[in-house]
Structure formats: C-alpha cells, structure tokens
C-alpha cells in the first residue's frame, strides 16, 4: 500500500477522484487519518442537516399536523442525532484539514473562534427567551395555572439567573442543543489531535467515556437543579463517531455498509423500533410486547443518548448511505434545494428556528390556537428559514466575489455549519 493510497480518503462510500488527493498531500510522514478531497460539497450532508433543522423547528412547536412527519414518531432517534453526527462529521472534515495544513495551534484558534460564535448565538437566544417569559409573567393570570406560573420564580433573582445562563447552567426549554454543541466543539481540538495520531483509539476512548458515563452516572449539573438535558459526556460518542467517519472511517466501513447482512439487520431493527413506537400511540398493541423486554427497554433515555437511540441512528444512516448514493441526481433537483440551502448555514438557521419556535408559540398564544393556525405557522417558519438561507447564500457569493481572492481551498466555517 502506498502512501498515496493511504491518504486517499473519501467520506461516506467514496468521494471525488483520488488524483487531486495525491497532489494535495503526500506528506513526509503519512498521517494516520485520511481526508477526503476538497472538491464538490457533500450535498447529502447538507441535505440531512437541513432536514434535521426543519425537524428540530417543528418538534419545538406545540404538536401539530406536521409533527407527524418528524422521524421521532417512527423510531427511537430523532433530529438531534442527525444534527450532532453531521456536525461532528463536517467539523472534523474542515478543522481536521486545517490541523494538517496549518498546525494544531492555528486549527485550535479557528475552532475557538467558532465556539465563540455559537456562544454568542446562544446568549442572543436567551435574551429573546427572557423577553418572552417576562411578558408572560406580567400578563398571564389565569387561575387555572397558578401552579405552573411558579416557573417564573427565577425572575425574582435575575442576578443569579443571568449569570447562570452565561455559564450555560441555566438553560430554558428548547435551548439545550447549542450548549451541547459548544462543549463538543471545545473538545474538538483534543479529539482531532488524538485522531491525527490514532483514529480508532480515539473512537475507542470515546466509547469508554460513554460507558463510564452510563456506569457511574456522570452528568453536567444545571441551575437551579437537575442536569443538562443532553449530557455531553454521552452525546460526544455521536460527535466523535461523525468525526471518525469523516476522517476515513466511513471509507473503511464501506464494505460493511454495502453488505446485505447490514441492510437486513438495519431494516429489521428499524421495523422493530417502529413497532415499539406504535405501542406508545396504540396501547392495544402492547399486549404483544413481552413485559421483560419492556422493563429492560424503558425508559429510552435521551439525556444520555440511550444505546437504543444510537443504534437506531446507525441503522438509519446505514440505509441512507446505501440507498442514497452520493451522486444521486435528485440532490441537484430544485425541490431539495431549500433543504440543502438550510443545511449549508446551519448555525444561523438553527438559531432562527429556535427564535421562530418562540415566535410561533407567542402567536398561538396571542392570536389563536387551532390546528389550522398551527400548520400555517409551521409552514411559514420553514419558508422563512429557507428565505433566510437563500439570503445568506446570496450574500456570501457576493462577498466572496468582491472579497479577497486568497480564499484557499481549505474548508471554510461555512461547511462546518454556517458561519
């Protein structure tokens, strides 16, 4: 095996031509990781991240008609898994290359800059949340809900609450994903540095951390009590796995992914998961569920990324990679364009989605409820996300044209999730 062979990486089942890789980096010491060529964007990643963003938005609204199109109703895993996996994948892809080309220090600096952007976005969303909750606290006095209004108690101590929010310890509902993302990105320099050295060992360590987290019940504490809704110590597994796939793991797994055995196991697992989810909605079916299995299975823990959820995501991903080839012509179709656009600017669109969910709740509260309004708000939200993504793309193009020509082929933050 030549060095060139070793470095010819390709994300998920074969990427662009190997030639340019060879000229891209036959380095003195062959790095342990392999990077795919910078060439065409991997549109499937954008597509599914865009999809995840839409689904997260819909899941953040009160349940309505569109909720039925979100994947959490058909199995164990949901959009969060897709989002974190793809984030790990793209982050490793972009910053892994930066680390090889410019060194650890520069890459770390770039990652930290990205973390700062995400942090600022989170604080911005928190401010909007504060405005909303303060409004509700002063205007809503329905005696039916005197107890629920106890949630406003934290407004009595804004000093503590706001500082805790800045420390990422106080996180309102629906604002859990960004703090998780921040912590994972903070760990990224270490992950990449280890992966540069021994990718499989890094993945192994990640699994060990996951197991230790479950075994010893480790968690990040939150304010005023409780813990982080997404435990970074567990969810890192998906992120690191994404990174591992990006850095050549996917290519090495391609034989496994292509085997019919994998396919049938995945199909069987997804079908079983679907059946289990059906029993939640059609309780009559649960007669056919052995009590033993129920007791072993429940609860399916989202906080600590239950193994059932992780494997469900793996099965979904395996089938997706198999049945949706990289050069699938549909990826270029204008119908999927909105999703891909959204996926290409994920940080902005994610924040916009959280904001729109707040706004949607507000409209439902102030104007009217009803399923018609619900569906309308969901649709409008998605249209707004699409429009925003389009504007950002347009602006980027304009700015790139008039901007420096020194922009090198090194992946930009855009690919790593907007920016």
């Amino acid at each position: 095996m030549t060095i060139a062979d070793q470095v010819t990486g390709s994300p998920v089942a074969g990427t662009a031509d190997a030639k340019s890789t060879v000229e891209a980096k036959p380095r003195a010491a062959a790095p342990a990781i392999t990077l795919p060529v910078i060439g065409e964007r991997e549109l499937r990643l954008d597509l599914f991240r865009g999809l995840a963003l839409w689904l997260i938005f819909i899941d953040h609204l009160p349940p309505n008609l569109l909720t039925w199109f979100t994947i959490r109703n058909y199995g164990f895993s949901d959009a969060t898994e897709i989002f974190i996996f793809i984030s790990g994948y793209t982050a490793a892809f972009v910053y892994g290359r930066a680390m090889l080309d410019s060194g650890v220090v520069i890459a770390t600096a770039r990652i930290l800059r990205r973390v700062w952007q995400i942090y600022v976005a989170h604080v911005f969303l928190f401010t909007i949340f504060l405005a909303e909750i303060s409004y509700v606290a002063t205007s809503f006095e329905n005696p039916l809900y005197t107890e629920e209004m106890g949630i406003m108690d934290f407004l009595k101590q804004p000093d503590v609450t706001i500082v805790q929010a800045l420390l990422l310890r106080f996180r309102p509902v629906n604002m859990d994903v960004l703090p998780l993302y921040i912590v994972l990105m903070l760990a990224l320099p270490l992950i990449l540095w280890l992966m540069k050295w021994k990718p499989d060992l890094t993945l192994g360590l990640s699994v060990v951390l996951y197991v230790v987290t479950w075994e010893f019940d480790l968690y990040f504490s939150a304010y005023p009590n409780g813990f982080w809704a997404f435990n970074p110590l567990a969810w890192q597994l998906l992120f690191v796995f994404g990174a591992w796939c990006a850095l050549g793991g996917a290519r090495r797994m391609s034989r496994i992914l292509a085997s019919p055995v994998t396919m049938w196991i995945s199909i069987a697992y997804l079908a079983a998961a679907f059946y289990v989810t059906l029993t939640w909605y059609v309780p009559q079916l649960s007669h056919f569920m052995p009590k033993r299995i129920e007791q072993w299975m429940y609860p399916i823990d989202k906080t600590d990324l239950d193994v059932l959820r992780f494997t469900h995501f793996l099965a979904l991903a395996a089938l997706t990679v198999r049945f949706l080839p990289r050069d699938w012509p549909g990826l270029k179709s204008p119908l999927l364009r909105p999703l891909i656009l959204c996926g290409q600017h994920s940080l902005e669109i994610f924040c916009l989605g959280v904001f729109l969910a707040f706004a949607g709740h507000f409209i439902l509260a102030e104007v009217s409820g009803g399923p018609g309004m619900h569906a309308l708000i969901s649709l409008c939200g998605i249209l707004i996300m699409w429009a925003m993504a389009w504007v950002i793309s347009w602006y980027k193009q304009v700015a790139d044209k008039s901007g420096s020509k020194t922009k090198n082929a090194v992946g930009n933050a855009d690919l790593a999730g907007g920016g």
Binding site: P62, P63, N64, L65, T67, W68, N73, F129, E132, I133, V136, S139, F140, E141, N142, P143, L144, Y145, T146, E147, E148, M149, G150, I151, P172, V173, N174, A222, P224, N225, G226, F227, A229, W280, Y281, V282, P283, S286, E294, Q295, Y298, P299, T303, A357, F358, H361, L364, A365, E366, G369, G370, P371, G372, M373, A375, L376
Partner: protein, 259 residues
C-alpha cells in the same frame, strides 16, 4: 401522547376534506350526551388496568372513600368547591346513587413527588381510603428534577399506597400551553406512564385530555383573564372525566353507559 396518532389522522382527514384550514369541526364525531364542552374521546379514557378494591367496595356496598393527593393544580384558589375533586364527588354520587361516596383532598403544594411520597405511610394510616388519586409531576417539572429520580419517587409512592391497601390512579400534569416553552413536560409524562404500566394501575391522562379540549376549541387554555370561570369549567369537566374513568376502570356495571 398516546392519542396523537389518532388525533392527527382525524385532523389530516379533516384538512384534506375541507379546503379551509380550520377543519376541526368537520372531523369531530357526533357529540354524546352531557355538557358539550366536556366531551372526551373514549380512547383517552380507556384503560386496561383495574380498580379491584373499588369494585369490591361497591359490590359489597361499603362506603367508597377516595383520597385525592395533589399539588396546587388540584384546586382553584378561593373556589375549592368547584375544583375537580369536589366535582368528582358530586358526579360519582349521581352515577352511583346507592353508594356513599366521599372524596377528600390532601393538598401538598410545592412538594415534589419524592416529598409527597414520604408522607404517604402516615397519611394512609390516618385516612384509610379505598382509592387514592395521586396527581403529581408539576412541581418536579418546574424544578426540573432528574426524571430518573422522579420515576423512582413515583414508584416508591405508588408502592406505599398499594401496600397500605388502596387502589391507585395516577394523574399527570395539566396541559399548559402558555408555559410550554418554559417547562419541559414530556419526560415527566413519559415516566408516569412507565410507572403506571409497571404497576398495572390506571393513568388519568389529564395532559392529553386538556390538550384535546384546547385543540378542538372547547376551551381556550391560552386565555389570560383573571376570572375563575374558565378554571371552574375545566375542573368541572375534569371531574366528570375522572368520574367516568373511575367507573370504567372499576367496571361498575351499567353506569358505564352514562356519560
């Protein structure tokens, strides 16, 4: 939660059938007797778990002593006589005319499931009810108690109540659309469902029922007015639904046909 598939299928049909977006009226089945606003689809009141002690008490014509243990959403400030436990007693008396029914309330405001459960042994010694309806989860959700700990606490509480010789019904949280963005309710709903399943006890799905009312336009739960009218009506309907639920779960004969 369980009702979501059905409901959205109904809605989907409605939306497809009617060009106007507001289609919920088309989809509603014909209303049964009783106050129209209290209508609850039967699947929301269906349970396979039973209430053997209640059935036995009614059969042997012993008085039916029901204890409602709950937090503040079990009452209406300054209108206790209109709260759902009071309504439950009135309606059960109507449904079971030959049966002495007494409903008492043990209010444990601002107590988590764990704090409430720790009082159960003494409480049961003092009251000796046939049936305990335990409404819980709200305080835990507000304080974002660890859902695992919450499940453990509910399990302990249910076990204590059962050991003291009572039937148990769990009642989950209210549907509170205004605070939906602030309180994370699903983990607590899920864990209560798990405990109910494990112990084979009925779960009164207050959350789904109230959401149904809101979605179908029977009540506007976003209403921010101070007046107690809405609260009184909702509690009246909750009392009715709960009475029906008790009667069904205990298989109390022909009374099931009434609504």
């Amino acid at each position: 939660m369980k009702a979501k598939v059905l409901r959205s299928l109904i809605l989907l049909c409605g939306v497809l059938a009617a060009p106007s977006a507001r289609a919920e009226d088309n989809a509603a089945p014909q209303a049964p007797a009783g106050p129209a606003a209290c209508e609850v689809p039967s699947y929301l009141l269906a349970t396979e778990s039973q209430l053997p002690k209640v059935a036995e008490a009614v059969k042997s014509e012993k008085p039916l002593e029901i204890l409602v243990v709950g937090s503040r959403s079990t009452t209406i400030p300054s209108s206790e006589e209109s709260s759902y436990p009071a309504r439950l007693q009135a309606i059960l008396k109507e449904k079971l005319p030959s049966e002495p029914v007494h409903v008492s309330v043990e209010l444990q405001s601002k107590k988590t499931a764990e704090e409430a459960a720790s009082t159960f042994v003494k409480l049961m010694e003092a009251k000796r009810p046939t049936l305990v309806i335990w409404q819980t989860g709200t305080v835990d959700a507000i304080r974002s108690i660890d859902p695992d700990e919450f499940r453990g606490a509910v399990t302990d509480g249910v076990t204590a109540l059962q050991n003291a010789g009572a039937d148990v019904i769990l009642m989950n949280l209210q549907y509170s659309p205004r605070t939906e963005t602030m309180i994370s309710v699903p983990p607590y709903l899920d864990n209560m469902r798990v405990v109910a399943q494990e112990h084979d006890i009925p779960l009164f799905d207050r959350f789904a029922i109230m959401r149904q009312w809101n979605d179908q336009g029977q009540f506007d739960l976003f209403n921010s007015s101070r007046g107690p009218e809405l609260a009184k009506q909702v509690h009246d309907c909750l009392g009715r639904a709960l009475a029906q639920f008790v009667v069904d779960a205990a298989h109390l004969g022909p009374a099931q046909q009434q609504n």
